[in-house]
Symmetry: C2
Subunit: 220 residues, 2 copies
DNA sequence: ACAAATTTTTAGAATCGCCTAAAAATAATC
DNA sequence: GATTATTTTTAGGCGATTCTAAAAATTTGT
């Protein structure tokens, strides 16, 4: 498989996991910052290789092999991200671009050994789950901060948007995975939220709140 | 720069370091297992980018930038080889192919951090020197086993042929970097050599002897 | 120095991945 | 249900990289 094919599979996989049903050509084009006609070309190629189910005008979905391949690439991407943070002291906002390259390195043995070196991590630096060798993975129990009620508490376990700008903003405000966060109040006007992060207080916009995942604490 | 361009630069660099003067189209084609016409095409492209000095029918050589780029790739290749052996327990016969992929990963920060993680190694698992950040590197003081006199002693510091078959042969006969080797006798008939490796004795063909580098011991 | 052998380049074509512009199919609107 | 609007595909083309076959330049051998 070529790098490009792998990138398409990954994009289709990610689009599948939000918004049900079949994936549109335009959605893929937007996700990959390319033109719809290029997507159509590639879908034909992927279909020829039985990596996607594609009939023209009918949208596309991954076949079993396609899904398996996508998961293998995502596994590599996330393991490399862990490696970069844990072993090479990169910050979580720096790793994605490098992992975009490293995810295409082709060696089963390499990735298994890397997995072992890192202690078989279950989540990457952004809180996303790392699929196992056989493609199995479970999403963590989590909820968007924006959906938490006033008075709700939880531990930060992931980000939805993992762009560098968002991650740097979080760093600046001491928000990191593992931090406890409590919803103190919610502004009706714009849905911004007053939250407590450890000892600090902060007012965050709805957009921010809807990109932060918490593991809600048990409410006894 | 594309992967292909990088591979050509590397090939030209390696050819330059053995056999003086300018490099022929055919030599590159053979080294890269491709056709001479493809080489000509690429030489034009590399020439347009000022990475090589090329005039048709006149052979080719690297420009200053071309040489610098080649050394950067070789630096990456060899650092990754060290990483694979030191951190992921690969054997020296397994690392080259994976490094052929990893050498194209593009991130200065990554390679600097990797270099630091490994303790700034000076040589790769095959005894080849690792160029520094600025392309500086010095070949180690070494001599082919085949050129050593009877009675000569030395420590194995590198291999010329680093193919998996040769490396596995060496493993099988307990020959590794750091091993002391002594030339006990030489057969006039085929130039094969009786050598001592640690406690063991072995008869090696001329071909083997001419692919093993020793650092000769001081003869006081 | 001339003919033959070898090396190197050109010409032309294929594949991959992308693009633009136009056509076709589908979805939305009145 | 006919007309728009949108989505998707096709047609045709471009750059990169490779190939085969043929032509051109260089080298070798007598
Ligand atoms: Mn990422
Ligand atoms: Mn991630
Ligand atoms: Mn190597
Ligand atoms: Mn090596």
């Amino acid at each position: 498989m070529t790098h490009s094919e792998e990138n398409y599979l990954k994009a289709i996989f990610h689009l599948s996991r939000q918004g049900t049903g079949t994936i549109s050509t335009n959605a893929i084009a937007e996700q990959m910052d390319t033109k719809p006609s290029s997507v159509t070309d590639m879908l034909k190629r992927l279909s020829d290789k039985d990596l996607v189910n594609y009939k023209r005008y009918q949208g596309v979905s991954l076949t079993e092999t396609g899904r398996y391949s996508a998961l293998a690439i995502i596994r590599k991407h996330r393991l490399w991200e862990v490696f970069l943070v844990e072993k090479l002291d990169f910050t979580w906002d720096e790793v994605h671009e490098i992992a975009e390259q490293l995810e295409h390195i082709n060696s089963e043995k390499l990735i298994d050994r890397l997995d072992a070196l890192l202690g078989h991590p279950k989540f990457d630096p952004h809180g996303d789950p790392i699929p196992g060798k056989n493609g199995e993975f479970k999403e963590r129990d989590k909820e968007l901060l924006s959906k938490m009620p006033v008075g709700g508490k939880g531990v930060c376990v992931g980000v939805k948007d993992s762009s560098a700008t968002f991650l740097k903003f979080l760093d600046k405000n001491q928000i990191a995975l593992g931090q406890e966060i409590e919803v103190l109040d919610k502004e009706e006007f714009d849905n911004s939220m007053h939250i407590r992060i450890g000892e600090e207080q902060l007012l965050v916009s709805h957009q921010i709140a809807s990109n932060l995942y918490l593991k809600p604490s048990e409410e006894s």
